[in-house]
Structures are given as structure tokens and as C-alpha cells.
């Protein structure tokens, strides 16, 4: 295990760690933002009177 952070392998380990942090971070940020946006949309739709709701909005929001 310690060999991974010795000599030139340390740079390889650092590169894969950087890739993991940046790409997984990007994915989780995208998932969290989508969840927040969908919740906000659902909340707005529930507050709206049925007569003013655009057709199909609820279904598309949850798709």
C-alpha cells in the first residue's frame, strides 16, 4: 500500500485520485442539483390551483 505513494507511483496515484475526486464530485453535484430542482418544481405545482396548472407538467417533472 505504501508503495503507491513512493517515487513516481505517487504521481500516478495523485492523478487517479484527482480524477476520482473531480469526476465523482461533478456527478454528485449534478445529482444533487437535479433533486433540488425537481423538489422546487413539485412544490410550486402543488401550490398552484388545478385550473392554472399547465397540462402534463407534473408527469414531465417526475419523469
Amino acid at each position: 500500500m505504501s508503495a503507491l505513494v513512493e517515487g513516481h507511483l505517487a504521481y500516478v496515484t495523485g492523478s487517479y485520485l484527482a480524477a476520482g475526486v473531480l469526476l465523482v464530485g461533478l456527478l454528485f453535484a449534478a445529482l444533487a442539483a437535479r433533486r433540488r430542482a425537481r423538489r422546487a418544481l413539485a412544490g410550486l405545482e402543488e401550490r398552484m390551483p388545478a385550473s392554472t396548472k399547465p397540462a402534463g407538467t407534473k408527469k414531465e417533472a417526475g419523469a
Partner: protein, 244 residues
């Protein structure tokens, strides 16, 4: 004909139905390709006779750099479609893809630096290739900033689209910088007219990792597009509610 096909997907609801169906396939392909790519890159491929184990950095660095360029060109194309045909999804795509391209560019810069220190003896040089990629990163940051710089989202999107179109001139500079100038960065070894100059045992993991990065990029673009469409719909509903 092409314009008519382009407008078939202009309806966000229709696009999202397609994207929703594609999302699980995209996620599955990303997981499988990354598993195979990481196995090939870390365990199955041999060390280089000159670079040793450091060559494994290439399997992350090169796909990240390719994606940085590919995403920028796609944003420029989408910006053109948004300006010329007023394609509603093109503008949303440009906004959704910009941070993804910025992350790929940052990853290419960081991994390039981590490769440069053991191989060149320096983290950074103001070489034409490295500098033009840094300019690409700043273009991405400018694009992201411009998108949200105005209260009127249409004005912000238009300013960002113009920046994306002007900045596309940097793409051939990045690609051919190693041929046009004497640079420390090595010339192209895969995308060459006379074929790849890289051994198949190293080309295979590189291509699988490139496919994994592409699939990952598509996955995050779909997620961010869904987010943008939901946000715009919420803004419209809020405005309609406020208007009575």
C-alpha cells in the same frame, strides 16, 4: 432537412423523454467502461520502457484533454444553433455542458502537471500547448460566469454564445500548437494522419478510458439538462403565479 431534424428535438418535453430512456443505459455503460478501462490502465497494461509506471497518467490525462476539446466544440456548435435557429435546447445544452468541459480541462491540467514533474522536472512551463489549454480553461470559466451575469437569462446566454464562438479559434491552436511551435509537450501520438504511433497494449486502455470519459460526459450532460429544464419550468410557473 437538417434544420427540420434539429427542431424535432426542440421540444424539451420530447427531448427529456428520450434522455430519460437513455440515462440508465448511459450510467450502465459508464460503469462498465470505467471498470474495464481502469483494469486495463492500472493492472493489464505494461509500464513504458522510458517513462516506467508514470505512463499510466496518460490514460487519464489524454481522455480528459480530448473531452475538454470535444465539449468546447459541441458548445460552440450549440451556440451557433442557438443564435442562428434560436433552438431552445441548444442554449440549455451550452449552459449544462460548460462546467463539465471546465472540469475535464482542469483534470487535463492537473494530471499533465503531475506527469510533468517526474518526466520534465517541472510542474509547469509556459509552453504553447499548456498555455493554450489554460486559455481554454479560462474560456470555460468566462462562459459559466457570463451565463449567470445578467438578470435577463436570454442576454446572458447570448453573450456566452458569442464568447463560445469567438473562443473556438483556440481549438486548432491547441491541437496544432505542438506542430506550429517548438514545445516541451510531445507531438500527437494517436490522432495522426499516418495512424497511431503507440503500441496496441497501451492504445487499448487509452481508447477504453476515452470511451468511459465520453459516456460519463453524456451522463452528466443529461442530468444537468434535466436540472435546467426543471428550473426553467419552475421559473415560468412562479412568474405565472405572481402574475395571477
Amino acid at each position: 432537412m437538417a434544420t427540420r431534424n434539429l427542431h424535432r428535438f426542440a421540444n424539451p418535453a420530447r427531448f427529456m423523454r428520450l434522455a430519460g430512456a437513455a440515462l440508465p443505459w448511459c450510467a450502465g455503460a459508464t460503469a462498465v467502461l470505467f471498470a474495464a478501462g481502469l483494469y486495463l490502465a492500472i493492472l493489464a497494461s505494461p509500464p513504458d520502457y522510458q517513462q516506467g509506471e508514470t505512463v499510466r497518467i496518460m490514460y487519464v490525462h489524454v481522455p480528459a484533454a480530448w473531452m475538454a476539446l470535444f465539449v468546447y466544440v459541441s458548445i460552440a456548435a450549440a451556440s451557433l444553433a442557438a443564435i442562428v435557429w434560436r433552438h431552445p435546447l441548444a442554449e440549455l445544452y451550452a449552459k449544462a455542458a460548460s462546467p463539465i468541459g471546465a472540469i475535464f480541462t482542469l483534470l487535463a491540467l492537473v494530471t499533465g502537471s503531475l506527469w510533468g514533474q517526474p518526466m520534465w522536472g517541472t510542474w509547469w512551463v509556459w509552453d504553447a500547448r499548456l498555455t493554450s489549454v489554460l486559455v481554454l480553461f479560462f474560456l470555460y470559466l468566462g462562459h459559466i460566469a457570463l451565463m449567470d451575469a445578467f438578470d435577463d437569462t436570454a442576454r446572458g446566454a447570448r453573450a456566452a454564445a458569442i464568447l463560445a464562438l469567438v473562443g473556438v479559434v483556440n481549438v486548432p491552436v491547441i491541437k496544432f500548437s505542438v506542430d506550429w511551435w517548438h514545445t516541451l509537450h510531445q507531438p500527437a501520438s494517436v490522432l495522426r494522419l499516418d495512424g497511431p504511433a503507440i503500441h496496441p497494449s497501451m492504445l487499448a486502455p487509452l481508447l477504453v478510458m476515452a470511451a468511459a470519459f465520453t459516456s460519463f460526459g453524456a451522463l452528466v450532460v443529461i442530468l444537468r439538462l434535466e436540472t435546467e429544464i426543471a428550473r426553467r419550468r419552475a421559473r415560468r410557473l412562479a412568474a405565472e403565479g405572481a402574475g395571477g
